[in-house]
Symmetry: C2
Subunit: 123 residues, 2 copies
């Protein structure tokens, strides 16, 4: 079996752990409370599903668990980006860029930044 898919709600939990880890379920829930309206129980369920999928580890610390990410954010981001590029842009990243440009999703700053990156890459 390939690496299991991570759902939207699960991803929100991962983001919290990627910011700082390890943390207890309660700590994770506290930070999530600012954005999502989830009960502590909901967060615990998501954490244990993530543990089953192998995306986080839970190490006993006294009578509670400390959760920390196993999945690396960069890898997750890469998988998701590639999925999008494959599904919608025939697997090539340049058309994605062209699309974003056409839809006006770049600011002047973005463009400057990108130009700099391109120069760097092409040298």
């Amino acid at each position: 079996m390939g690496p299991e898919r991570i759902s939207d709600a699960e991803h929100a939990v991962m983001e919290v752990l990627w910011r700082r880890a390890p943390r207890t379920a309660t700590e994770v829930a506290d930070e999530l409370a600012e954005t999502r309206n989830w009960s502590l129980q909901t967060v615990k369920t998501l954490l244990s599903r993530l543990a089953n999928k192998g995306a986080v580890s839970h190490d006993q610390s006294g009578r509670r668990y400390l959760y920390r990410p196993i999945l690396i954010r960069e890898d997750y981001v890469d998988e998701e980006s590639k999925r999008l590029v494959d599904r919608l842009f025939g697997g090539r990243a340049a058309p994605l860029f062209a699309h974003l440009a056409e839809r006006d999703h770049f600011s002047e700053e973005d463009l400057a930044e990108i130009e700099r990156l391109v120069k760097e890459l092409r040298s």
Copy 2:
């Protein structure tokens, strides 16, 4: 309610209709048979779910339906791209670009193309 989400399997059906429309359920299923292993019934279910979501129209033609897309591909692509950028790159497209670059997802051609686009946009 926002525009309803389109699932992966449904998206595959949309792609077929975006290539050519209108088509009957059987025609759509025939083309999909090349890639996915779906029965005709499965495709019909997906088409009617898409119709419920307002993503395709089904116009009677004799005793059968002709399906055609209502949702514009460009708009769908844009929604999905924005979702990704929002979820994973803080809503800014430049970091997406930086990520793709870092992960070596651009060919020399891609870069040339992008450089051209950037120049055009900044002038």
